[in-house]
């Protein structure tokens, strides 16, 4: 099902949840 | 999810239209309409329609190649093969740029302005930001924030594009890793809970023993 695959693809691209430099500082 | 649902209706509509068409020129016109439609960003269902195979070997075969490009390719890919592909209308150029942003967002969540300007053939930051806001964020295919200080676009969400055969294994691997990490983390949390419970019991026992000895000492005094 192409539609489901696209949704899963979009989900997978969301990982990791945050990646910005600013977030890394705060996370640390 | 909403974008995908909207697309599902459009895909069904175009598929039904394609099934009813018999001639190559009509199918080529349908491909043009689909690749220009402002709300359609998925083309693999159309690509796999038997009706579209009628375009192969005709003077409209390049329309099939164009559809394939819109399913999997980017603006850069079009520019490298523009001599073999039909000329694009402004709506198609805009869509290809939007799809290019989705492709870029697949590999990294922080997209530098310079890279975006190069990939999207945009000459200045103002134009790039207007495009990202109006054509990508406001159309719902991407969510994110522009960081003018660091000159980058931080992607929070990007709609999924059609998958190429090689991408499926990567996806399965990522999901397996995610599952493994989540399982591992849950296991660690369980262990911590057990440790906390056990330590709490030991502390309670120790406290009781101490209180009993204090009582004993008081009595003997």
């Amino acid at each position: 099902d192409n539609s489901l695959l696209r949704q899963v693809s979009s989900l997978v691209r969301r990982l990791p949840a945050m990646e910005s430099e600013k977030f890394q500082d705060e996370f640390l | 999810m909403d974008a995908e649902r909207r697309q599902a209706e459009l895909i069904e509509q175009f598929s039904a239209q394609a099934a009813a068409l018999s001639s190559a020129p009509q199918l080529a016109a349908l491909v043009l309409e689909a690749t220009s439609h402002p709300a359609l960003f998925a083309f693999s269902e159309l690509l796999t329609l038997p009706a579209l195979s009628k375009l192969t070997g005709t003077q409209y075969a390049s329309s099939l190649d164009l559809l394939r490009l819109f399913a999997y390719g980017t603006l850069k890919d079009y520019k490298s093969n523009s001599c073999t592909l039909p000329a694009l209308l402004p709506d198609q150029v805009r869509k290809l740029k939007q799809l290019s942003v989705l492709t870029l967002a697949e590999s990294t969540k922080v997209l530098p302005y310079d890279k975006l300007m190069q990939e999207l053939d945009v000459s200045n930051v103002r134009e790039l930001e207007d495009f990202l806001i109006n054509e990508c964020m406001y159309s719902g295919i991407v969510r994110g924030k522009l960081d003018q200080l660091r000159r980058c676009f931080e992607v929070q969400f990007a709609a999924g594009r059609d998958l190429t055969p090689g991408q499926l294994n990567n996806m399965i691997e990522t999901l397996s890793d995610w599952l493994g990490t989540s399982d591992g983390l849950l296991h660690q949390i369980q262990e911590k809970i057990k440790w906390a419970d056990a330590t709490s019991e030991v502390n309670k026992k120790h406290q009781k023993e101490f209180e009993d000895r204090v009582e004993e000492a008081k009595k003997s005094i």
Partner: protein, 302 residues
């Protein structure tokens, strides 16, 4: 006194027929409603107050209209005259609108638009009138100061199916979704406004200008972390120093989150805890996405 009252009422009728609304109102306002000689019941007093207020409102005289509506507000709670009560509500909403208390006016207009009866007393309630009330509610909400209270009213209006049929629905949608409004859209909206809604404020900008600038400023915070005053000025179509002033006022009034660095001439549209909060939101979004996929799968029998 009785004869004077009759003369006043007749003269008021004549003025009304010649569309000299304020003169008609002045004629009626000379009638002593609390006279010891003529005993008027509350319904008659209410009727007179509302009539005078309506006449003043025909000439957009909010000050005088308000004086009589305030008198009427003591009487309306005990009134069971539905027509009068409705007229009172409409006057009150229009007065708030004229006084530029747009959010309060919007809430009242919206309440009026939700009337279910199509006949109140001898009066028929026209669908067009209800649609006008709804449209007035939307217009006033858009003109109101941007902030959390306005967001709540916007959400109510946006989710009301009737609004999707209004001519100004596209702008309502953009305002609700916090999208930047461009000049052609703002100009099109301006054509639907009444004169007092385009009035000049002490700082030489118009009511509409201020509302649009504040809205666009808030919209910018949704898509950017950070903006220079020059960029902001270009985006809002105003002088950069004015942009800074408006932004600082909104931050002080707690209607926008951010900080201003006057040395670097930039505005940061966030505070320091934004990263971790955003992380939480991202995780929630991820979980929702997983749920959506599972729902899709089960709906397809997978």
């Amino acid at each position: 006194e009785e004869q004077v009252v009759v003369i006043r009422e007749k003269l008021a009728e004549l003025y009304e027929s010649e569309q000299q609304w304020s003169k008609a109102a002045q004629m009626l306002s000379g009638i002593d409603l609390d006279s010891g000689i003529r005993m008027l019941d509350d319904t008659n007093k209410l009727s007179k107050c509302v009539q005078i207020a309506r006449l003043y409102l025909e000439d957009d005289d909010a000050v005088n209209a308000e004086a009589f509506i305030n008198k009427a507000s003591f009487l309306v709670t005990n009134s069971n005259q539905e027509v009068l009560n409705l007229q009172y509500r409409v006057c009150y909403a229009r007065i708030l609108d004229l006084k530029r208390k747009f959010l309060e006016a919007a809430v009242r207009y919206y309440g009026i638009s939700q009337i279910e009866q199509r006949q109140i007393g001898d009066e028929e309630i026209d669908e067009n009138a209800l649609e006008q009330a709804l449209s007035a509610a939307v217009t006033c909400t858009i003109l109101a100061g941007a902030g959390p209270q306005r967001s709540r009213v916007l959400a109510t209006l946006y989710k009301d199916e009737r609004c999707s049929k209004l001519k100004i629905y596209p702008i309502l949608q953009k305002v609700y979704l916090e999208r930047i409004l461009r000049k052609p859209e703002i100009d099109a909206f301006a054509e639907e406004l009444k004169p007092h809604q385009k009035a000049l404020l002490p700082d030489k900008s118009t009511v509409l200008d201020r509302a649009m600038i504040e809205h666009n400023l808030l919209s910018a915070t949704r898509s950017t972390y950070f903006c220079s005053f020059d960029e902001l000025g270009t985006l809002l179509g105003i002088d950069p120093r004015k942009a800074e002033k408006i932004a600082s006022r909104m931050i002080c009034e707690d209607r926008m989150r951010g900080s201003i660095d006057q040395v670097e001439a930039v505005i940061h549209f966030e505070d320091d805890s934004e990263g971790l909060q955003q992380w939480d939101q991202q995780i929630a979004g991820l979980c929702q996405a997983v749920n959506d996929i599972l729902d899709s799968m089960s709906s397809k029998g997978i």
